[in-house]
Structures are given as C-alpha cells and as structure tokens.
C-alpha cells in the first residue's frame, strides 16, 4: 500500500533532486517520442545533448546561446521571488535590441570609445522602459501583470518589425527588412579567437553573481525572499511591496534589455526581425529549473542552451523539426511542477491496506 503523506517541513533534498528527476523524465519522454516517429532514440538524444558539447566550436556556440537565456532568467528569478509575475522578458529583450540598435546606428560613423557603452546603456534603458510600463500599471492601477507583460511582448515585437521596415531599414539594403551592419566600434568584442563567445556572455555570468549577491547578502534580497514567502508577514515587518516590485522589475528589464542589445551587437551585428528564438519565454523555464536562484540559473541556462543547439543539429542531421525544443521545454516544466509535489509531500509504504 502506498500512501501520500504531507511532510511536516518542505524537503531541501527534494528541491535539488526534483529538477534532476524532471530532466531525466523529459529525456525518457523524448526517447519514447523519437521511437514513435521512427528515429533512433539513442542517436537523437546523442545529437540533442552530447553533440552540442562535442567540440570547441559547438561549445562556443552553446555559450553564445546561454548568454541571453541566463541574463533573462536571473532577472525573472528575482521577480518571481517577489511575486511579480513578469512574463515579459521576451518583449524587454526585443525592446533592448531595438533601442540598442537605434543607438548603434546613430554611432555608425563615430570613432568615440563611448559608442559601445552608450549603445549597451541604450539597450538596457529600453528594456527597463518596456518593463516599467506594465509595472506602473500594476502598482498604480492594479492591472494584471501577467497579461500586460505578455501584451508588451507583442507590442515590442511589432514595434521592432515596424522599425526594420521603416526608420531603421538599411537604405542600401535592397528593401530587405534589416538595418545596416553596425560599425566595428559598436560591436561587442569576442573573448577568444575562433569562437563567437562575446562580452555579453561574460555580462550574463557577472549578472548572475550580482543577482546571487543581492538575493543572499543584502537586506534588499532578504526583503524579496520574505515577500515571496509570506506577503502579509513582509508587510507587517514594514517592507514596501511597491518599492520592491519596482526594483526587481527594473532589474529584470535592464538585464533582458542587455540580452537583446548583446544579441544585435554580438553574434548578429545588425537589427533583424527575428532577434530571438523565444529566449525570453525559455528563460521562464530556466528560472524555474534553476530554483529561482541566480547561480542555479547558470546550470539551467547551460542545459537549455544545449537543448537549443541540439535542436538545430537534430534538424540538420536527422530531419527532426526544430519545434521539438519548445515541446521539450513544456514537458520539462510539466515534469518539474509534478516532481515539486514531493517537496511538500512524500510517499510512505505500509504493509496493511488502510482506509
């Protein structure tokens, strides 16, 4: 007889085991799925998970994909801890790409050493603006943050598409919806030779350390954690919910904006309509998988980046549609939520049948 029993205290072990269990279950699901569509599951999983790490070039590409995922996820982790349901990382990323690109195009003739820093700041500010509007609407007018941030994902997307068709389009671009190529001094330098790993990847790692520091070592982070654990206790302690809400949202907006501008001034080198393959949405899963912890997010972001890489490789080598990646992401989150059940509950085995 197996019984479900509520634990008296949440299990700390399960908090760490649960993501691993969820990943394992997702891989089993993947194996079954690939068998069902007539592909070798061993080969498919090898292409999805091992091949992206097989040589130096692929590892570099993996880090390039990890950068934006991690930047977005660190911000989201803090937001979710403070009960701010920000689903708008994608829009904030696109806004950052747009604002940053406008700055980069402004500096296209410039020789100034401030061109790149100002471009990055423009991107971060744009991301912050895109986060600030829904935040203001929530804190001032009580509107639903989930829905407004999602609407801003679409608004930012269409604004970006409009810009590359209109004001930011390259006049010499034969009518393609793309901006001109940025000048070299507004491009992020790469860190190693023969690899596309750029400064933005380093920013992402620094951001997660900063996020970790804020969350665990400062009074502000303490307030965020209390607020997330028990809102009424936090208010009783005199913590200002609105101020915290503003801070985490602006922090998340700045990081997502930085992710966007790092993409356009990094691997892409110009503004194009499809800056992001849904990094902002995947970052939600990265944040959860990393247990809403900025350092945990690094491991989760690496895993997710491998999956993105693997998806591309599986498409090329085995003809598996690349959509398999976002499907796996959804399944992974399902399994994670299901496994989290055992943080607060446990199974007990008894010999007698009980009523």
């Amino acid at each position: 007889m197996i019984l479900i029993q509520a634990r008296t205290e949440p299990s700390n072990t399960m908090k760490f085991v649960s993501p691993l269990l969820a990943v394992t279950l997702t891989l089993i699901f993947g194996g079954i799925l690939f068998t069902a569509i007539g592909k070798s599951p061993v080969q498919a999983l090898q292409v999805l998970l091992i091949a992206p790490l097989s040589d130096a070039y692929n590892i570099g590409e993996m880090f390039v994909k990890m950068g934006p995922l991690l930047l977005c996820a660190v911000g989201l982790s803090l937001c979710y801890r403070a009960n701010m349901w920000n689903i708008g990382a994608e829009g904030q990323l696109l806004a950052g790409a747009l604002g940053g690109s406008a700055a980069a195009l402004y500096f296209i003739e410039s020789e100034s050493i401030f061109a790149l820093p100002l471009t990055l700041i423009a991107g971060m500010l744009s991301g912050m603006i895109c986060a600030a509007i829904p935040t203001y609407l929530k804190l001032r007018f009580n509107s639903n943050l989930i829905l407004t941030t999602i609407m801003f994902n679409y608004i930012a997307l269409y604004l970006l598409i409009w810009s590359v068709h209109g004001p930011l389009r390259d006049p010499q671009g034969y009518g393609f919806p793309e901006s001109a190529l940025f000048a070299d001094n507004t491009l992020l330098p790469t860190l190693f030779e023969d690899s596309r790993i750029h400064l933005g990847v380093l920013f992402a790692l620094i951001a997660s350390v900063i996020g970790w520091f804020i969350l665990t070592k400062t009074h502000l982070g303490f307030q965020v954690r209390v607020f997330g654990a028990d809102e009424s206790a936090a208010k009783y302690a005199g913590f200002k919910g609105n101020k915290l809400g503003w801070l985490v949202m602006l922090f998340a907006g700045a990081l997502a904006g930085l992710a966007g501008v790092s993409e356009t001034t990094g691997p892409i080198g110009q503004l194009v309509p499809n800056v992001s393959p849904g990094y902002g949405y995947s970052a939600i899963i990265v944040a959860y998988l990393g247990r809403l912890h900025p350092i945990g997010a690094i491991i989760a972001a690496v895993f997710m980046a491998v999956l993105y890489m693997g998806g591309d490789l599986a498409q090329i080598e085995m003809g598996i549609p690349v959509a398999v990646v976002s499907m796996f992401q959804g399944v992974l989150l399902f399994f994670l939520l299901a496994c989290d059940f055992f943080i607060n509950n446990r199974l007990t085995f008894t010999n007698q049948a009980t009523n």
Binding site: W85, I87, P134, L137, F141, N142, S143, N144, I146, L147, T148, I150, M151, F152, Y154, I155, Y158, L159, I161, W162, H165, G166, Y281, I284, I285, Y288, P321, A323, V324, V325, S326, M327, F328, Q329, G330, V331, L333, F334, L337, A338, D340, F341
Partner: protein, 310 residues
C-alpha cells in the same frame, strides 16, 4: 465612408471576434469555478493544428472541428491533473501548457505548413439574411459563427437560470461551502477546465479551417492571451464576452476602417493595436480595486484540497 463599407467592417469584426468569443466563453466558465488556466494559447494552437490535420486528411470539416475540441480537452486534462490533483501552481502550469502546446503544434504540423483547405463556406439564413444591412452583417456567416451565437445563448441561460450555473458559481465563490453541501468541487473543476479546453480547441479550429484555412506555426498570434484579458474586461459575465470579442475583433481589423477613412498607416504599427487596446482595457477595468474584487470569482487561482477538509 459609405454604408456598404460599414457593413463589411462589422461583418469582418464578427468574423475576427469569433475565435476570441469561443475561447473566452470556455475560459470564463473555467474561471467561474475558480481555476485560472493560462494555457489557452497552447490549447488553441493544438486545436488549430489537429483540426486542420483531421479535416485535411479526411476531407471532412466537421470531423476537423470535433478532433480539435477533443484535442483541446486532452490538453486541458494535463493542466487539470497537475493543478487539481498534484496541487501545482496554476500560473506556472498554465505557462507550461502554452509553451508545450506551441512546440507540439509546430512539431505535429511541420509537414502541413503551406497546404490549404477549402474551408467552411458561408450559409445565408433564409429570410433573416434579407433584412437590410443587419442580414448581411449577422446572418451571412459560416456554421461555426452561428454555433458561437448558440453557445453564447446557451451559456447565458445555464449560468443564470439553472442549478448547474449555481453549482459553478458556488464552487468558484466558496469551494469549502460548496463541498460542505455535497458538491464534488474537484469534479466540477475538472469538467469546467475540460470544457474550456474544448472551446479553446474549436477556437483554434476556427482559425485554421475558416479564418485563414491553412496551418501556420503560431497562427493564433496571442489570441489566447487576449481572451484572458477579455474575461476580465467582461467582468466574468457571459453576455459581455460577446460584446468584448467583437470590439476586439474590430480593433484587429482597424486597417479596413482606416482605409475607409482614407488614412494610411503602416500595417505593422496597426498590428500592435489589439494588444495596446487590451492593455488600455485592463487598466480601465482593474483601476477600481474594490469593484474587481467584487466581480472576480473569490477562489480564482487558489487551490482546493478536499483532504484538508474536516
């Protein structure tokens, strides 16, 4: 702007509003029982792709619609089990459903992109469609639009005039009290979530069988999310959902209206309009904190565990 154009615009507003109407009708029932399902977009996409596949491979449109509704319900069942039995967070689970549905629909439909269907043809209702103006606006649609009229009427009746409607409201307002008088709270919620899934499925089928009779990845472009806002806009009242859906429909075809007025604005800017309108509406409706608290189902988003009951 002449009368003919106005008729065309209103006709198109109904057509564009219909998928929103379907999905929001499902979601409002679901929310009335206290469950917030953010997976609408995912269920809708799955409905769209499965509906298209079924109709394309059998040549039977009705079969496509039924397959879409079934698919929507199956998708919602995943959500229901996680939220109602495992006690997972409703927001996170709904998001997972949307991400999963977006990926799965693209995966399943990969080989069918670009193929087209004949689609449902409009049926003019005898006599009624001869009414000047009104006939052409309301009574010259395809069968799914008429079905959406029927469903709206049916749900207004069920919610306001029947015992079932009272049960739904009781579960959403106070699940503990409902449980105490012998209502199976979880059963009601399961059924409501699955009804929501079926409606999301048919809404997706409307997109891929009527609105643009083909399958394109991500073709619902956020309609599932707009529907969630629509429920708030309608203050959880079924009748107002219909009005709201057509208003949003009108906002999405604003380019027609502006053409009529002789203005030309970039289509990419106009594409932002439904989303901007959604934000504006959310702000206006929610600004009155007290009123929203009064209108929203009181247990919305909160889990209910019968095992905790004494």
């Amino acid at each position: 702007m002449d009368a003919d154009l106005i008729v065309q615009i209103l006709f198109a507003a109904i057509k564009t509003g219909t998928p929103l109407l379907f999905i929001a009708l499902g979601e409002v029932i679901c929310e009335k029982t206290g469950v917030l399902n953010l997976g609408q977009e995912g269920m809708m996409l799955m409905g769209a792709v499965v509906g298209f596949l079924a109709a394309y491979s059998t040549g039977n449109m009705g079969f496509g619609v039924i397959a879409a509704m079934l698919m929507g319900s199956i998708m919602s069942l995943i959500f229901a089990v996680l939220v109602l039995h495992v006690g997972a967070n409703q927001v996170a689970t709904g998001l997972a459903l949307t991400i999963f549905g977006t990926g799965l629909s693209a995966f399943v439909g990969a080989d069918y992109v670009g193929k087209t269907l004949q689609g449902f043809q409009p049926i003019a209702i005898p006599v009624l469609s001869d009414i000047p103006y009104l006939g052409r606006i309301i009574f010259n649609h395809d069968i799914l639009v008429y079905f959406s009229f029927f469903m709206t009427g049916l749900l207004i009746f069920v919610v306001n005039k029947t015992r079932l409607g009272l049960t739904i409201k009781a579960v959403g307002e106070n699940p503990n009290a409902a449980n105490a008088i012998g209502i199976k709270v979880l059963k009601v919620r399961y059924l409501a979530v699955m009804f929501g899934g079926a409606m999301a499925g048919i809404s997706g089928a409307y997109m891929s069988l009527v609105y643009t009779p083909m399958w394109v990845e991500g073709m619902t472009s956020g309609r599932g999310w707009i529907a969630l806002a629509l429920v708030v806009f309608a203050s959880w009242r079924v009748g107002r959902i219909m009005l709201g859906a057509y208003l949003f429909g009108l906002a999405s075809i604003m380019h027609l209206v502006l053409q009529g007025l002789g203005l030309s604005i970039s289509p990419n800017l106009l594409a932002m309009l439904p989303y901007v309108a959604t934000v504006v509406v959310m702000v206006i409706i929610s600004a009155d904190h007290f009123k929203e608290k009064l209108l929203a189902p009181r247990s919305l988003g909160k889990p209910f565990n019968p095992r905790n009951m004494a």
